[in-house]
């Protein structure tokens, strides 16, 4: 740099408003979908949905309430630990003693409450034993944290030592005091009746009837989807500055017509009337949506002239996409859906048909969406045309599946889901055609969008929960309702996840956890109590292990001395699958929870699908590798899109 330029720059800086204040051209605006992709747990979320859909499709019991209760039960204890281990991992440390600690706390409580007799034990009340064991667990966490801080050794080594001590102590004290590797029974303790409800009560579905269940389920799910769609409108399109207009009225009229017709659909049994009402509802909804978009958002700018080159590309992709979807349908038609004859290693004609159909259909859709992307540089109408083509293809395939599929759930539930996806996509395309996309940040609109997403997700979850928790008279009369029972540990899992997400995102402690994991020296320099933060994170992990220990002890009544040993790696795997960076400083507690769901679904789904569960670890290994690669790609793309 020569003298003239620096002087010039320095002089420019004396004049505020020039130079650095100019718009930063490197920072392009990120739309709502792009921003969604920057959260650490998004890869795991997509993976969880895909794995759920996969096992739902290949196994009959997996998607039922009973199957769901089953894998959620496994997910709960794994998930509580995955969440706290994620917090510690964000803080840049590991705790290898976490698995053994779950068994140790359970065994400690049992020994504290056992009657003093020939077999030993302290004979304490549970009201005293529980807090005592909790303090003991916190003590182990404090020890781990303090040792790591004082010795500056890697936590991997320090907690490996704690792990062996805890594991040996469990076995040694069990043999010494009870003279057995099996330590029981917790129900001898005073106060058992109360605490067993807290830690091990269950909700048996067949005992709870709610005949209007499916009405609530449908409406909640639908309302949830509407809220989520509105949220994405708010975040993606530019808010119009004009207030109420004639379009407000159009939106209202459309909404009234749509809702009225939709309400009418449920009051009659006549098929033709229901069809007419459905069409009226759809028309009302369309009017309402157009009115809403015109009132709320700026109109789309006139599009640029068509670019012949990109239109040719779009046309080619469209043809390839249509050919692939056509091939998928042809294969499904040609191959026998009932044949279980083996073609090659483990693959039946039936399986081959499903695989060919799904993969060709999905690749076809990818090509069609690439066509829409290529046409995106041409006028909007062309994009809209291709999008409508995609909607038509999805609807056509949905009807094909409904006619051809041998399995009932594909003909009913899957069919409805496909139609719903097509409908949402169509609505999105219509609004995109007539509204202008927002290209500048608008924090208020984004905040609104986030709130709407939250409401939508909560409504949808409420719908699903109602359906899972209750049975109906009709179901019982039809017979064959599996006795699904949901354990209270699922609520504990939910509670721990919510507290962890809140703590990491909203409190100073959460900020400090990210800071000490990301760059400890920098954190220390600005006054973050790094040692204390890390020690507290270790204590949080021990507290989680205590909770899991209680859930196990009250469920099983007696615990093996080896309970929990070796599970610490499953917690770490779940945290990593959930998008937490192994080296700290990046990740989320929700990611850990989703990672635990993925692992529980695959562990329980494999036997449900009728496969040998010896293959479970092969599946787990593949998932771990795929998850880490996917998370890396997503993070890299997210970081790149911010530049």
């Amino acid at each position: 740099m020569n003298q003239e330029t620096t002087t010039e720059i320095a002089e420019k800086a004396d004049d505020p408003g020039s130079g650095a204040n100019a718009t930063d051209e490197r920072l392009s605006h990120r739309g709502p979908f792009q921003r969604l992709l920057t959260s650490p747990e998004i890869g795991a979320l997509i993976g969880a949905v895909a794995i759920w859909a996969f096992f739902w499709a290949v196994s009959v019991p997996f998607g039922t309430a009973g199957g769901t209760a089953n894998w959620l039960d496994v997910a709960a204890t794994l998930g509580i630990m995955a969440v706290v281990v994620s917090m510690l991992m964000i803080g840049g440390e590991f705790d290898l003693s976490s698995g053994a600690m779950t068994g140790a706390t359970g065994i400690l409580v049992i020994m504290l409450v056992k009657d003093i007799g020939e077999l030993g034990g302290a004979g304490l009340n549970l009201w005293i034993a529980l807090p005592l064991s909790f303090l003991a667990a916190l003590g182990v966490g404090w020890f781990n944290g303090t040792m790591v801080e004082r010795t500056s050794l890697p936590s991997f080594i320090v907690t490996l030592g704690t792990f062996f001590v805890v594991r040996g102590a469990k076995l040694g004290f069990s043999k010494l005091i009870v003279d057995n590797v099996q330590v029981g029974r917790i129900d001898e303790g005073a106060g058992y009746e109360f605490w067993v409800k807290v830690f091990a009560s269950t909700w048996t579905r067949t005992e709870h009837q709610f005949d209007n269940r499916d009405v609530f389920y449908n409406q909640f799910l639908l309302a949830g989807l509407v809220f989520i769609a509105l949220a994405f409108f708010e975040m993606n399109f530019r808010r119009s500055r004009t207030g109420f207009s004639v379009w407000t009225g159009v939106a209202l009229v459309g909404a009234v017509i749509g809702l009225g017709a939709y309400a009418g659909m449920h009051s009659t049994d006549g098929t033709s009337i229901n069809w007419i009402l459905a069409i009226v509802a759809a028309a009302g909804a369309l009017i309402g949506i157009v009115g809403w978009a015109r009132w709320r958002y700026d109109a789309a700018e006139p599009a640029a002239e068509a670019d012949a080159g990109s239109m040719a590309v779009a046309g080619r992709y469209t043809l390839i996409g249509l050919a692939l979807v056509g091939a998928a349908v042809l294969f499904a038609w040609w191959l026998d859906s009932t044949s279980e004859r083996t073609v090659a290693f483990l693959i039946t004609i039936q399986g081959l048909r499903a695989m060919l159909f799904v993969s060709l259909f999905v690749i076809g859709l990818v090509y069609l969406s690439r066509a829409a992307g290529a046409a995106g540089r041409a006028p909007n109408r062309n994009v809209f045309g291709i999008q409508m083509l995609i909607v038509a293809v999805i609807v056509a395939v949905a009807f094909f599946i409904q006619i051809e599929s041998a399995s009932r759930k594909f003909r009913t539930e899957f069919f409805s889901v496909m139609l719903l996806i097509a409908l949402l996509f169509a609505v999105w395309s219509v609004v995109s055609l007539i509204s202008a996309e927002r290209r500048t940040p608008d924090p208020a609109a984004d905040a609104w969008g986030r709130r709407l997403v939250l409401v939508g997700v909560l409504l949808a979850i409420a719908g699903v929960v109602i359906r899972l928790l209750f049975t109906t008279t009709a179901e019982i009369e039809a017979g064959g309702v599996p006795p699904a029972s949901f354990s209270v540990r699922i609520l504990w899992f939910l509670l721990v996840t919510i507290i962890a997400v809140f703590t990491l995102g909203r409190t100073r402690f959460g900020s400090w956890a990210f800071a000490v994991g990301g760059n400890k020296e920098a954190a220390r320099q600005v006054g973050v109590p790094a040692a204390r933060t890390k020690t507290q994170l270790f204590m949080i992990v021990s507290a989680g292990a205590w909770l899991v220990g209680m859930l196990l002890a009250f469920r099983l009544n007696s615990l093996q001395a080896s309970t929990g040993d070796g599970l610490e790696f499953e917690y770490i795997i779940a945290a990593v699958v959930g998008g937490n960076l192994l080296t700290g400083g990046y990740g989320s507690a929700a990611g850990g929870a989703i990672g635990a769901l993925i692992m529980a679904m695959s562990a329980q789904g494999i036997p449900f699908a009728g496969w040998n569960s010896d293959w479970r670890f092969v599946f787990l290994g593949v998932i771990l590798l795929l998850a880490v690669i996917a998370n890396n790609l997503i993070r890299a793309r997210a970081e790149a899109s911010r530049r």
């Binding site: 740099m1 020569n2 003298q3 330029t5 620096t6 002087t7 720059i9 320095a10 420019k12 800086a13 004396d14 505020p16 130079g19 650095a20 204040n21 100019a22 718009t23 930063d24 920072l27 990120r30 940040p441 909203r506 409190t507 100073r508 959460g510 900020s511 400090w512 990210f514 800071a515 990301g518 760059n519 020296e521 920098a522 954190a523 320099q525 600005v526 006054g527 973050v528 960076l581 400083g585 990046y586 970081e639 911010r642 530049r643």
Partner: protein
Amino acid sequence: MTDFTSDSTATAATLVEVRGISKYYGNIIALSDITTEVKSGTVTCVLGDNGAGKSTFIKILSGVHHHDDGELIVEGAPVRFSSPRDARDHGIATVYQDLAMVPLMSVWRNFWLGSEPTRRFGPIKIVDQSKAKDIAVEELAKMGIDIRDPEQPVGTLSGGERQSVAIARAAYFGAKVLILDEPTSALGVKQSGVVLRYIVEARRRNLGVIFITHNPNHAWPVGDRFMILNRGRSLGDFAKDEITQAELTQLMAGGAELEQLQHELSEATADT
């Protein structure tokens, strides 16, 4: 601009005075008899080659080490810092080149790290995010950095912008004297320009800046006072009107050595 020039009494205030400071590591003389001063609204450049004693000088000012001889006077009172925190409490903030930021954390969280504003939410205290983001964006804008998205991770900022986030943070949290440790040494030409602009901006906001560098071309356009260190000794402490850039470069490279180098270089170019 007018806000600052009208405050003429503050502009003249001497914030830090260094009088004959020396530092020994055993029998090694790291610094010997260094004298300079930092006034508010001025930039004091400390120049020197590697091993000249620049980092020892910073460490004394920022409270990492103690001086063995001489006096360190902060706002009129002689002090001996017990720790870096003590120095910070006296209004002396040090911005190190790499240690200052958590790259994967967002700009606003980095800005507030360690001093997050909170509000009560029932029995628990939560971080007041909207206030924190607003103030962070506002303070950075005052430094001339336009951060459109405070959620952007600091790692995606350029090196110069990262330095200036640290400068803005130090200024917001009450620093009167900023010590910048080689802020331009790892940066390209354009990025160095960015940092120099923020140094001028900090001066305009009436901070006293100590700018440590080994590049006289960076020091000259922004500096008001220049102290040249060589092998632990001061080669002089000059106000801007007492020295020219050529003289500064000459002194910094140790006069004769530079002439020798120029001679060698001209021979090298003649050969090719």
